[in-house]
């Protein structure tokens, strides 16, 4: 079976939460490479990403994803009561495949704290642990909501490296961010969202 190019798209997607329209008939296409979604807070970035990740039902329109999808949300979204190592092991086992968790932990500077329960880690460490999933779960489609939040300079560098590695193996990456304009330079496409409506460049 020929390998399909990774991609993800929302076609004329309308999403309503509690009877309020958040996204209005948006067309969002994520091709191999980096796609950036910009917009002020409250414009619907998180909703668009969650809809693309399959977490929200569409009122209208369609969602298509080719390839396995990794969604890293706004908050670290780690399983409490487990350590970093156990979290990564869980996710990898769930998918039935994965990268090198130990290497990922080392790379993201978590080796010293890898066996403590995640709720005892600092916010920055939890953010790194969540991002370590980029290495532990190599996926074709990657959706990131504000990946640079709560990170120091070194952390930001690590994210950029991980993204480059993902792009190098052909992944389609979507990043929502309201800062770090420099990532637009390497982007295949930059969307801007305002009040639930999308404009693409």
């Amino acid at each position: 079976m020929p390998a399909m190019q990774p991609s993800a798209r929302l076609e004329r997607a309308t999403v309503a939460l509690e009877d309020r329209v958040i996204l209005r008939a948006i067309d969002l296409e994520v091709a191999p490479g980096i796609t950036v979604l910009r917009g002020p807070n409250g414009a619907g970035k998180t909703t668009a990403l969650r809809a693309l990740a399959g977490l929200l039902p569409l009122l209208r329109g369609a969602r298509e994803v080719a390839g396995e999808l990794l969604y890293l949300g706004h908050r670290p979204q780690l399983l409490h009561g487990l350590s970093v190592r156990e979290n990564l092991a869980f996710f990898m086992a769930f998918r039935g495949r994965g990268g090198d968790a130990a290497a990922a932990i080392a790379r993201w500077g978590l080796a010293a704290d890898a066996d403590r329960p995640v709720e005892r880690l600092s916010v920055g460490q939890r953010r790194r642990a969540a991002l370590a999933r980029l290495d532990a779960e190599p996926c074709d489609v990657i959706v990131l909501d504000e990946p640079f939040a709560e990170l120091d300079q070194e952390g930001v560098g690590l994210v950029r490296e991980a993204l480059n590695a993902a792009v190098a193996r052909g992944a389609a990456v979507l990043i929502a961010s309201h800062a770090h304009p420099e990532i637009d330079r390497d982007a295949v496409r930059v969307y801007s969202i305002h009040d639930g409506a999308l404009a693409g460049a």
């Binding site: 509690e18 009877d19 329209v21 039902p57 569409l58 009122l59 209208r60």
Partner: protein
């Protein structure tokens, strides 16, 4: 994708007919129940409340089945018409279940000497009442039309499947129970012919009233959700 297609032609034309038919049937049934049917040999006049209690109970069960069908319909097709029918039927069902319980209680006091007894059918009906109320409470606390419809649908399906299971388990457990007067296995109910006829007319009347009320309520609900969906365009 969710579609909202109000079956206009159906409701606009049928409802007035249903309304008239209900009134007519109710009038006839009342007359038969109060005047034509003979008083019971043992219980006397008080037995006439059976003509409210039994049809109300039957209609309540019917309503519950319709909730089930509406729930399945919504999950299957995502058409809000199904959800509207489900909630309408649930509301009317609560009403009729409550009525059946109250009428049964009023009937029980002079005949059995107690307001309530732990008899399988009564228990099942009481539990059914609580399940309906839970269904409506869940809807009341659920924001978002589609999410509310989906949540209710799950409960609607589970609840109706629970009714026979409850009845079975409670019947097994209960040593004393009386066979239902109309559905006695072997065919002929142990009722006077005129009583039976009155009962059946009563069931018909209640069913018509049920259909009329559900049609009204469902149309209202559908119009409401259509307005909300329009607002989401």
């Amino acid at each position: 994708m969710i579609t909202t297609a109000p079956p206009r032609a159906l409701t606009v034309r049928i409802r007035p007919v249903l309304g008239l038919a209900s009134v007519a049937a109710a009038t006839i049934a009342t007359a038969m129940a109060l005047l034509w049917a003979p008083p019971d040999a043992v219980q006397g006049e008080v037995q006439r409340i059976m003509y409210v209690h039994v049809p109300a109970a039957w209609t309540a069960y019917l309503a519950f089945v319709v909730v089930f069908l509406g729930s399945v319909g919504w999950l299957w097709s995502r058409r809000l018409a199904f959800d509207a029918v489900a909630v309408a039927s649930a509301e009317v069902g609560v009403l009729f279940t409550g009525l059946a319980l109250v009428a049964g209680s009023i009937w029980a006091k002079p005949t059995w000497g107690v307001w309530w007894t732990w008899e399988p059918r009564l228990i099942t009906t009481a539990i059914m009442f609580v399940m309906y109320v839970g269904y409506l409470l869940l809807r009341g606390l659920s924001p978002g039309i589609e999410q509310r419809a989906t949540r209710s649908a799950v409960i609607g399906i589970v609840a109706v499947l629970n009714v026979p299971v409850v009845h079975l388990s409670v019947t097994w457990m209960n040593a004393l129970h009386q066979l239902p007067t109309v559905l006695r296995p072997g065919g002929s109910p142990a009722l006077d012919e005129r009583m039976l006829a009155t009962l059946l007319v009563g069931v018909l009347a209640f069913t018509l009233i049920y259909l009329w009320m559900v049609a009204k309520r469902a149309t209202l609900e559908l119009a409401r959700s259509a307005r909300v969906m329009e607002g989401l365009r």
